[in-house]
Symmetry: C2
Subunit: 426 residues, 2 copies
């Protein structure tokens, strides 16, 4: 067991340990936002035949070469092809076929004239200028041929990817499994949100924050409730989480007489990789892995023992659990975005541990300004609920001056959304 | 009915028309990512009493004033208070109380000394330096008092906000209703993904793309299947969508003989606000509103008649439907983020309509480069599924030079996620 790692060492230790989960087959609609675990090869040619890109008239281009507005070429509308129709009947030179977007071009025709560019007159149509060969025709296979690799393993399944899979007739797809995360909390003082807080009890709100953070990153939280602060109950509680991919606990990881988490997980076969990270909030944090899970031969879940303080629990989840869950879900980008901002009001601290300061972000004349959300005590969760970012106050520093350039980890994904369209729109 | 608006005019017309939906009460766990429709006032004082921020010993600070490492002050550990315990028994001056994080400070004590800073010895503890008053004590009400407004109407319900609501004992919360979006598609050539594509049929993939785009923005798609290209079937189909907040159709909005959407919606009482936007892909697009819904007196749904081309349908959804759904959901940021990038390879077009070019984005030495995803024909959907952004090629321009600065609308939310942690981590 290593002790007192830096944030970077702790993140590296965790990310070296975890790997993407196995693949599973799911309905395409359930695959949204997940990572593709197969190369998708096309089983179709698209378009399936040469087809019209416009509503108009399919013609032999040669027959239009003398056309002009003064001396139009008149053609008989000999047939009509709708989208989904068939084009078995060949078009005779000098005839035209009424044709609609997506409809197959009849044999013989090699050009489509837009309906806006002709004069229709009953069974006849007047062509007003020469139509080049291939005009407004989408060639068979222009989008894909049978066997083309249209999607690569590792791609994220966006909304357009779902449409593409549908267009190939796929209803099922192989994706990386979502991590199942057992959420445990412990503390004699804790109650559920609908419980009584008489006598100084408080709500086990960490479980709700941590479950929501799991859902935000696409993992599946499984809540196992509150355990009392005694080794026996904690052990039974912990055993219930062993079938998950990850166990996330909060509280009980410090050095107090009531801090039983480390002892219990070691007894259950967890190898603790490290304890303690040089950061504030969040110093007393444990990371380890159970040597066996419920399946014979397989390794057990990872365990993240987070501090009990609500701010510390949320901040350590952001730094350590979230990147691990991203990697387990198959993403290659494991981290929150960071931005450079200017500091609204000076900050001070003791040199030593890296601090994460909860901040709001404002854009003024194209510059981003970061301001503390107020009381930075790790007991004050309100300032976490208002934070759009975590400002990185490096360990060695003791002061960040007003107006200085700072790095902020953006935890509010909505920060990037636009108040304005961002372009002229003409 | 206005015709041929610019992108900006069309977006403004839509956003002036739509407004946030009504509030509804949902379980807190279902409120994630939605917009709060009430001011949340605290019903609790937090912390509920003066309590310890550390594991340690609560003492009378005055009794520690002479303490030093050479001449420690020994105090008898007269009582113990755990988190969730009660602190009714007053502490006598000169005594200490063993105390744990979150536990109430006993009457009389005014300072907590960290356990790491004392020498414990059976029933006695030696204090090695003077402890200031208020040391390691979180004051009652430091986080909130009863009646404090802890969350404001309009806030987005992030994971920490869910934790904060839980800590207040809230299990239900009032949020802006999610838009219900009826998804319709029409075309004689269309089949569902599990249908046969014999004879040139193609899958109605637009419905799957558009449903997924709805889910991505937090709206609820309701898929009504495929209608044939005839006014009677289209009318029955459209009627089924009238109970939604929005109807999104694809295809049938151009000027072809099979383009019945405009006629049908007007017959059903839709006032068409505009038809046609000066953009490519996506010109033939209709926006309107039904003058009555299923409820007496209430206005009916908005209708977005999108082009049938898969690329055009997705791009017009992005520009027009998505901002409308964001506003209906209560967000004040309606638009996708835009970034400035440099263009990898020159682009050309006819001056006239604004073009949206599907691009990939790469970061090189801190600069973002945008490259076309290939064939920009609006028939080629593959290039949409690979696009991370839509490059804005202004209407008046005919060329964007290699290396020039361009504006890109980011449609892949994952673009901002970090490959690296983005700070040193020490």
């Amino acid at each position: 067991m290593e002790r007192n790692l830096t944030v970077a060492q702790a993140q590296d230790a965790i990310l070296n340990e975890v790997s993407p989960l196995a693949a599973q087959t799911v309905a395409v609609a359930d695959a949204q936002g997940r990572i593709l675990a197969e190369d998708v090869l096309s089983t179709r040619m698209l378009p399936p035949a040469d087809c019209s890109a416009m509503d108009g008239y399919a013609i032999h281009s040669a027959a239009s070469q003398s056309a002009s507005a003064d001396v139009p070429v008149s053609m008989r509308v000999a047939l009509e092809v709708a989208a989904g129709g068939s084009a078995d009947c060949p078009l005779q030179p000098g005839d035209a076929a009424r044709i609609f977007t997506g409809a197959p071009v009849p044999p013989g025709a090699d050009s489509v004239v837009m309906q806006e560019h002709v004069e229709a007159d009953g069974e006849w149509v007047r062509i007003l200028k020469p139509a080049p060969r291939g005009n407004n025709i989408r060639n068979a296979g222009e989008e894909m041929h049978v066997g083309d690799r249209v999607l690569a393993r590792g791609a994220c399944i966006s909304a357009p990817v779902i449409g593409l899979l549908a267009s190939l007739g796929r209803t099922l797809v192989s994706v990386v499994r979502r991590p199942r995360v057992a959420i445990l909390s412990s503390g004699d003082e804790l109650v559920e949100p609908d419980g009584s807080v008489e006598g100084g009890r408080i709500v086990a709100s960490n479980s709700y924050t941590l479950s929501a953070l799991c859902r935000e990153v696409g993992a599946e939280p499984i809540y196992f409730g509150i355990s009392k602060d005694c080794p026996e109950e904690l052990e039974a509680h912990m055993r219930s989480g062993l079938s998950a991919d990850c166990i996330v606990t909060s509280a009980g990881v410090s050095v107090g007489d009531h801090d039983h988490v480390k002892g219990v997980i070691e007894k259950l076969g967890c190898e603790i990789r490290f304890w303690g990270v040089q950061m504030k909030p969040g110093h007393p944090m444990v990371f380890g892995r159970f040597d066996r899970g419920p399946a014979p031969g397989a390794a057990g879940p990872f365990v993240f023992g987070l501090p009990g303080n609500p701010v510390s629990a949320a901040v350590t989840f952001e730094q350590f659990v979230r990147p691990a869950l991203r990697k387990m879900s198959g993403f290659v980008t494991h981290f929150r975005p960071t931005i450079q901002a200017r500091l609204r009001t000076a900050l001070r601290k003791q040199p030593g541990r890296l601090n994460f300061i909860r901040v709001c972000l404002e854009i003024e004349d194209g510059e981003i300004w970061a301001s503390s959300t107020g009381n930075q005590s790790s007991g004050v969760f309100r300032s976490m609920s208002e934070a759009q970012g975590l400002l990185v106050f490096p360990g060695a520093d003791s002061e960040l001056a007003e107006g200085s350039d700072v790095t902020v980890q953006v935890i509010d994904e909505g920060f990037f959304a636009g108040h304005e369209r961002g372009f002229e729109g003409v």
